[in-house]
Amino acid sequence: MPRDESGILSEIKKGYIIRQLQEGKRGDGRTLEQFREATIKIDYIKRAAGSAYVELGKTKIVAGIKVEAGSPFADTPNQGVLTTNVEFLPMAFPTFESGPPNEASIEVARVVDRGIRESKMIDIQALVIEPAVKVWIVFVDIDVIDYDGNLIDACTLGAVAALRSAVVSGSVVGKEDFKLPVRNTPVSVTMVKIGENIVVDPDLEEEQISSGRITVTTSEDGRLKAMQKGTTGSFTLDEIKKAISTSINVGKHLREKHLS
């Protein structure tokens, strides 16, 4: 994660934020468990099979789905292929650089990917054109265009919304167009620890003073599908359990509001 541009967020400000949190208040007036306002526009990119533009507070991403015919992996001849890539565009933040994905963007992509994959959101067994020879390859590509914290959740929201709306052009293999076979709707909820408090959906300022990040992705039935603790810092087991409960609750709300 990029550092605060001015070096370090002043210790004074940090102390102030922590004291406010102890009273249950956040800088933008949210409660500790409250997500920022999210806006999702699907079909934002007509040329893609599915797409979504997501604003999560001031964080903005564009997710696009491409589906192409290709070879299956040798060890999974009867499955389609799902691949997720996240680009931290240099336009999104002063210190993001052009070039191949770095460890931060790879982590985001892999956590988003695990949520989709492990929830079995897409029925990849249904994406076989000719077993062992030709399958559908689903490319989930995400452009991060404006960064103000919590990319994992913004990207998961965008990827899931785009996949849900995706229509595959079957003409290249002489078939009819069809909707991607969607079976589940995973939602990730990310929290960070600031002082002794855990807050949901951190903005950039909160990320910068936090010590420890935890993401919990759940499926429609409230089961755990993927988790990722990230950044330095630590959690107690009780904190993790509490985070799981929060994720189930908040995730349910997000799913109802944005993905149904």
Binding site: I45, K60, G64, M91, S98, P101, I145, D148
Partner: protein, 245 residues
């Protein structure tokens, strides 16, 4: 240019497949200040193109041995999103986007008052979200708005437009089919006040007369496009005055 010039791109009534007259532009819409983090930004929708531009700077050029003691370096980076074209575009720069980034950087540097910012760098990131012929010109036209939005002083705007030839006829602002199956493509960018040309590329086949017709069409269109650019900025200013963000 495409090799199949026998495809019918102009109807008997003289109209193009999308109903335009030869000298018509596609719809153009520009919004300034669409991003929070960048120093300046703009989103342009031009026909089916959707191109996002953000600007950072002037900031200290890095690495230092690249600094120019007399002026700012302008570094435009043109990039196509993986989902912007029919066949997924593999991430990362290819030879085409490297060339485009070079000519866009040079065109913008010709307009920016770079001599006011020695040792600095101005980064212009151009992301093609959806491509529909004429992306470099759409990106450049939006870039000028984003640079102005960033408060970076320019001698003049930079405004671009494309002309081309289809079915032996010169037309303005090629569509995707016209670009794929046409006979010539001529993207030009102009400083609208002085009418100086800062970007010009051409490929295909044109006679001198056809070149004259094409450039007349472009120069005619430039003032309309520049108005859209200026409107985008004043709309932004109004929003800012009204206490936006």
């Amino acid at each position: 240019m495409g090799t199949q010039s026998d495809i019918k791109l102009i109807e008997e009534n003289g109209l193009r497949l999308d109903g335009r007259n030869p000298g018509d532009l596609r719809p153009i819409k520009i919004e300034a200040g669409v991003l929070n983090r960048a120093d300046g930004s703009a989103l342009i929708e031009w026909g089916g193109n959707k191109v996002l531009v953000s600007v950072y700077g002037p900031r200290e050029a890095y690495p230092k041995h690249n600094q120019d003691i007399n002026k700012a370096i302008v570094k435009a980076r043109y990039n196509m999103a993986a989902f912007s074209v029919d066949e997924r575009k593999r991430p990362g720069p290819d030879r085409r986007s490297i060339e485009i980034s070079k000519v866009l950087s040079e065109a913008l540097e010709s307009a920016i008052m770079v001599e006011q910012f020695p040792r600095a760098q101005i980064d212009v990131f151009i992301e093609v979200l959806q491509a529909d012929a004429g992306t470099r010109i759409a990106g450049l036209t939006a870039a000028a708005v984003a640079i102005a939005d960033a408060g970076i002083p320019m001698r003049d705007f930079v405004t671009g437009c494309t002309a081309g030839k289809v079915n032996d006829k010169v037309v303005l602002d090629l569509s995707k089919e016209e670009d794929n199956f046409g006979q010539a493509d001529l993207p030009i960018a102009i400083l609208p006040k002085s009418k100086k040309i800062v970007l010009l590329q051409m490929d295909g086949d044109l006679s001198l007369e056809e070149f004259d017709t094409a450039t007349s069409m472009i120069i005619n269109a430039i003032s309309r496009i520049n108005e859209i650019q200026r409107n985008a900025l004043s709309a932004k200013v109004k929003v800012d005055d009204a206490g936006g963000e």
